[in-house]
Amino acid sequence: MADSTLPVDRPMELPGDLPGEQPGFTWLETLHTWVTTVDHKKLGLMYIGYALIFLLVAGVEALLMRVQLMVANNHFLSPEVYNRLFTMHGTTMVFLVGMPFIIGFANYLVPLMIGARDMALPRLNAFSFWMTALGGFFLYYSFLGAVGLQGAGSAPDTTWWGYAPLTERAFSRGHTMDYWALALVMSGIGTIGAAVNVIATVFCMRCKGMTLFRMPLLVWLNLTTAGLILVTISPLTAAQIMLLIDRYLGGHFFDSQAGGSPVLWFHFFWIFGHPEVYVLVLPAFAIANEVIPTFSRKAIFGYPAMVAASAGIAFISLGVWAHHMFTVGMSAPGNAFFVLSTGLVGVPTGIKIFNWIATMWGGKIRFTVSMMFAVAFVAQFLLAGLTGIMLSMAPWNWQLHDTYFVVAHFHYVLVGAIVFCIFSGLYYWFPKMTGKLLSERLGKWHFWLFVLGFHMTFDFMHIPGLLGMPRWIYTYQPGFGWEKWNILVGVGAFVQGIAILLFSFNMVRSYLKGAEAGPDPWDAWTLEWATSSPPPPYNFAIEPVVASRRPLWDQKHPEDPDWRYE
């Protein structure tokens, strides 16, 4: 708010320099600066660090599941433990890995890319982070604190869909579902706060000359995502509140005994759940939108179309949720409608894929590790999208629904697209965030191992799905031809694990003794490369002025600047 006219009646503190980055400070003081910070860069890093930790946690949960499924009739895990593992794995990966990652990147990059000194609402930013973070810890506290059906120590175990009425008091006694619902409400509040902040930042904090249509695509996509979050996370929060009303106050929203309808929950969950996957994938696209042009040495092809396609995806995705409910027993016209709307999502998504290919077309592609992850992402996302189209054919979905084919589809997007993009983004911006380059040699090992592990796991996972293997089963009988595929899948998961370990090692080692990055290691074009690495707390000493979508291009090529053509 512009109270610029108000006299400064409050003295400003003069700490001068940054505690924590000065040699004389104790670790406690360092901790204090991080805990009380309202700086978008520190918060962004905290989001990303937090997500990385939970990636390892949920990854280990996945490994345990894969060990259990490696052979038929295995007794490594009990059903109770297995059910908790996949519920916690799914919930964690979506809410405590995917969301923090994308919000972390948005936090770190959006102000830098639009030439601002901070987010619009820095204190809300800190609050949002802590809500998300504490929500995650709350969820995991259930492993210790929740007294479940099977006695002490129990975590949510009704899948990340939490389908009613299984989550009602009558079928889930104890507190596990309360932990689940409350944790999601908490992190939901954090997420909505972050989205509000991104929107306010983009609309109010752009530097001189940065019109909406000169914003980098990353900013556009994060703006779209933030808008989508507002109308996506809120229904989930509302539904969780209803569930809590049922569980604590004896309400009947989803209570089938009193005439309540479980189908209502299905709708509410998927009205959230489907757009949610696009909330996750749009920021991943955003990363590719920066990485691919830089390393192809070309402007993004069809910038306006990319913006329109993102908006289109966000919009259409609000009307396709029931493609997760083809087997619930909808009427034929209802099913047909959702076949059509789901198919139409493929159109703007296709535009994006075509535009990325067109951007690379005619370029001079530099295969840094970051670019390798981005290219792999395009290929894998193409395949994943096409299996999505298969799933959206309602009659076929009656067969494929709830099988490992679906699990394979969504890991192809969630890992093959989102995690790949996140790795791509980390290799790309790690130098900006820390001032050190990640080792490219270790990076190539990481890339190839992860690609190998990914394809071993998730390519072969389609097949047991086609052979009729349902998801959520902790055990299965031999003889259906699933065993050999499950072995391959399990081994692949461990290869992924090794690759991720390698990556962790790369980050630590490069942070300690990597090569100096300099302000602009990739010869890139957006504003974040116009300041030192890592950027000072105020980002830019002189607030930048831009004249086109690629301000640094204009400076590097004064003979052929973009602003002449846009």
Binding site: K364, V378, W396, W398, H401, L466, G479, D562
Partner: protein, 354 residues
């Protein structure tokens, strides 16, 4: 049966379908090899009813189209990545900058829309063909009720109830008998599914779903609950026995009879009736009228126990009654804390319930 008249038997092939090879041919070979090698199969590529056939055809059609898209777009990507990578011989100039082209973008917007429309028309036709198929009066009606971790099958026309193993007659050219099932739930959501006969359909409390299909070959078809429903979801299997009309009629006749009364096991029967078993199980002709667990009237006519988990043998039955949780963790039947000889008595009695 109507849908068979609708569909032409020959499976069409687009030439480009070949390009879809990896996924598609692979999938089919797998399906077949699995069918051959494995003792039993639960694959979606071995349809044995009208709707299942229709779905299989749709799946090949969609596989071909998506395979073609993958080949074209993936090929393009591969080409670009190889052709336009930076080479040592490149000059030191930036490549030409291209900002976009409305025409090209229009073209690659409209072409996918067209494909989507075609896919939609196809899917819509099949949805309507399966969901709104007329139900001939000769149909067999069965009510399927999902329970936490087992299936109940009620034959309202014949007045008996059985569990976990659904028996239906085959529907061939001579005997046109459609099975028309009403899908219900007693507690939470489950999903009823035997891939070779029909796609899955959820059992939802307070909602009645419908499933009609015409099995075209005699045999045992495997399936299982496909919607997570609690601890023992993984062990909620089911079997569908498709029988010749004669076999089916014989089976029905047997099921309609009240439970066998064998004086040799009167002691066991008495003991059974004195236990709380009766509050959960029904044995027609005895004092057991419980509705919480499976009907045991003709327990011995079933091949498996506890929804397909173990073969129905006396020793398994004994193990089950002794401690169900060790066989099916999470099952809703408690261990009844019976002594060894008492259990034997009950098993002896139950073993006569042919």
């Amino acid at each position: 049966m109507n849908w068979r008249k609708v569909l032409r038997p020959e499976v069409f092939r687009l030439p480009v379908g070949l390009l879809a090879g990896i996924g598609l041919a692979g999938g089919r070979c797998l399906a077949q090899s699995a069918g051959r090698v494995a003792v039993k199969s639960q694959t979606i590529f071995a349809p044995h009813s009208g709707p299942a056939h229709l779905i299989e055809q749709l799946s090949y059609f969609v596989l071909e189209i998506t395979g073609a898209i993958f080949a074209v777009v993936g090929g393009l990507l591969l080409f670009v990545v190889v052709r336009f990578r930076r080479r040592p011989t490149d000059d030191a100039a930036e490549p030409p900058q291209i900002y976009g082209s409305t025409q090209i973008e229009l073209a690659w917007t409209v072409a996918p829309v067209l494909i989507v429309v075609v896919l939609f028309l196809t899917a819509a036709r099949i949805i309507f063909a399966i969901e709104t198929a007329p139900i001939p009066p000769s149909s067999l009606h069965v009510d399927v009720v999902g329970h936490q971790f087992w299936w109940e099958f009620r034959y309202p026309g014949d007045g008996f109830v059985t569990a976990n193993e659904l028996h239906i007659p085959v529907s061939g050219p001579e005997t046109d008998r459609v099975s028309d099932l009403r899908i219900l739930s007693a507690d939470v959501d489950h999903s009823f599914w035997a891939p070779e006969l029909f796609g899955k359909i959820d059992t939802v409390p307070n909602q009645t779903n419908r499933l009609t299909f015409d099995p075209d070959a005699v045999g045992i078809y495997y399936g299982q609950c496909a919607q997570f429903c609690g601890t023992a979801h993984a062990q909620m299997l089911l079997r569908v026995y498709v029988q010749t009309p004669d076999d089916f009629a014989a089976w029905v006749a047997n099921q309609r009879r009240p439970a066998v009364e064998d004086p040799a096991v009167a002691a066991g029967r008495q003991f059974f009736e004195s236990q709380s078993c009766v509050s959960c199980h029904t044995i027609r002709g005895s004092s057991a009228h419980g509705l919480y667990g499976p009907d045991l009237t003709h327990l011995m006519s079933r091949d498996t126990l506890a929804s397909g988990i173990i073969p129905n043998t006396p020793s398994n039955l004994k193990r089950w009654i002794h401690d169900p949780q060790s066989i099916k963790p999470g099952a809703k039947m408690p261990a009844m804390q019976l002594g060894d000889s008492e259990t034997d008595q009950i098993v002896a009695y139950l073993s006569t319930l042919k």
